[in-house]
Amino acid sequence: MVKVKVIERPVPTVSTEIYLKEVLKGMGVSAKHFFQGITTQKNLVTTQYPEEKRPYPKRFRGHHRLMKREDGSARCVACYMCATACPSHCITIEAGEREEPYIQKYPRKFEIDYLKCVFCGFCVDACPQDAIRMDSDKHRIPAYTRQDEMAGNIDLLKLGGLSQARQGGKWS
């Protein structure tokens, strides 16, 4: 059964009709905020951005980063999963060949076009190597040219850290 709550609008009374009481009450509330504001800084919500930065939550989807192996190379093996999962087709990968038989592949080019990226995080979900992550705790800073909006593997690796994720089977 639908529980309905009929909202009654306030009936105009003399005190509301002559404006003054409610106007003064409202001004009182404003004045309260005013005096609170100039005496205590407690309620102020502004973040003074470049000097102080709001801490991002742990799950914040920020700038992408490429994780590294112990030897400092990118974990990415250019499997194109992120490029496939990306709804905005902003990831461009070119694969190169490596000697190690268990790695074989590396991204010769790994570019994210931040003009297209929508920060949905699907690439992170799609990565089977724990190679791409968005937990860099940085947001993408807009640039002035299209060229600057492309982040290449070097930029992404700079933000990257060592990934501890084990790979290739529990025992291998």
Binding site: V2, V4, I7
Partner: protein, 402 residues
């Protein structure tokens, strides 16, 4: 016929002319998304033609070229004030096509996030409506309260607005630790600010006069025009998807459906204020009753396998690859699933032909129907009433133009 017009007509040498004026798209209050072509008689709106499409992104066409999962970020941008409700609605629609049942905890979290989004949505509507009649302070207070809830959303989903939180058959992630405390802080602030907004606006005669009997619409017209949500309820119809077609766990929580009596802007304001309080009530119950357990269904053909398994076993890797390359294979058929969005019934009509991509995906945005009624609502009103009426509908361009 009004007195003034009689006067005009009686004295033929006092002939006056209509003024044709365009409001929007680049009008300070039109948010860049709507153009209203007005024919004005002095300050009175004689006729209006509402023109939409300035935010058309071809979302329905794009969806046909993406996998079922890849559509989720698109749904963020429907009603971009309460994106999580869109996420939930879309995920539910696909789950309906797939015929899967999601775990209990998932349902609770979805309801929780929906209600948080609804509060954000209503706060925006109230604040914007106040802003458009120059009450700037309540607007910023409501934005302040809204920001508290966006923080919560960010804490859970990783982004304030572009949440992309639901997955088909699951969720991106479980609630973070200590979420209840975070929520409690936000709620405290919300209720405090709501009281202040209330003191500034509700009984203030200027505000009252500006809204009462402005933008009224009758119950019959509202139903006929396909209105849903708070705007329909303000006319006295007690239709709420959450009550009439309970989805997820809405049949297990206790809340009231606030209903107005006149269908004017003031009633919409009151209904929204009350709905925020009801949403708070729902959230409290949800947080109290939320069970432990998994949040995702255990089916690798629908949801990506857990990361650890993907890294370490070929089976999960294969499932992972197949799901990302080909998408979820949804059996052929069609389904219409609907949720109570911030502005009313948000429906997803999906047609599948058995492929990894939607064959047709249509969104029934509640705003589309609300804005359709705008012309009726502003005809004969003053030019200054257009924008508050427009905002009382909480017009969201993303939802209309799609």
């Amino acid at each position: 016929m009004s007195d003034s017009n009689q006067l005009t007509e009686k004295n033929s040498d006092l002939r006056t002319e209509f003024l044709h004026l365009q409001m929007g798209p680049s009008h300070p209050a039109m948010h860049g998304t709507v153009r209203i072509k007005l024919t004005l008689d002095g300050e009175t709106v004689h006729a209006a033609d509402v023109e939409i499409g300035y935010l058309h992104r071809g979302m329905e066409k794009s969806s046909e070229a993406h996998t079922w999962s890849q559509v989720i970020p698109y749904t963020d941008r429907l009603n971009y004030v309460s994106p999580l409700i869109n996420n939930v609605g879309y995920a539910m629609a696909v789950e309906k096509l797939l015929g899967v049942e999601i775990p209990e905890r998932n349902k609770y979290i979805r309801v929780l996030m929906s209600e948080i989004s609804r509060i954000a949505d209503h706060l925006t509507a109230i604040g914007a409506m106040a802003l458009e009649i120059a009450a700037f302070t309540p607007f910023l207070w409501s934005m302040q309260a809204r920001e508290e809830f966006y923080r919560l959303i960010e804490e859970v989903t990783g982004a304030r607005v572009t949440s992309a939180y639901t997955r088909i058959g699951g969720l991106r992630d479980d609630l973070p630790e200590g979420f209840a405390d975070l929520y409690q802080a936000a709620e405290d602030r919300l209720l405090r600010l709501m009281d202040d907004i209330d003191a500034l606006l509700t009984k203030n005669r200027i505000f009252y006069d500006r809204l009462v009997d402005v933008g009224s619409i009758s119950r019959e017209d509202a139903v006929d025009l396909g209105f849903t949500g708070p705007v329909l309820r303000s006319t006295g119809v007690d239709y709420d998807v959450r009550k009439d077609h309970p989805y997820l766990i809405y049949d297990r929580v206790d809340f009231d459906v606030p209903v107005g009596q006149h269908g004017d802007n003031y009633d919409r304001y009151l209904v929204r204020m009350e709905e925020i309080r009801q949403s708070v009530r729902i959230i409290r119950q949800v947080l109290r009753d939320m069970p432990d357990g998994p949040i995702n269904i255990d089916d690798w053909s629908i949801l990506l396998p857990p990361k650890d398994a993907v890294y370490n076993s070929i089976e999960a890797t294969i499932a992972h690859f197949m799901l990302i390359i080909h998408g979820i294979q949804v059996p052929a058929g069609e389904a219409y699933a609907f949720v109570e969005g911030g502005n009313g019934e948000l429906g997803f009509y999906l047609v599948s032909d058995g492929d990894g991509k939607p064959y047709r995906m249509h969104v029934r945005g509640p705003c589309f129907y609300l804005v359709q009624g705008l012309e009726t609502m502003i005809k004969g009103q003053m030019i200054a009433d257009i924008i508050p009426t427009f905002d009382s509908l909480n017009m969201i361009g993303g939802e209309i133009d799609r």
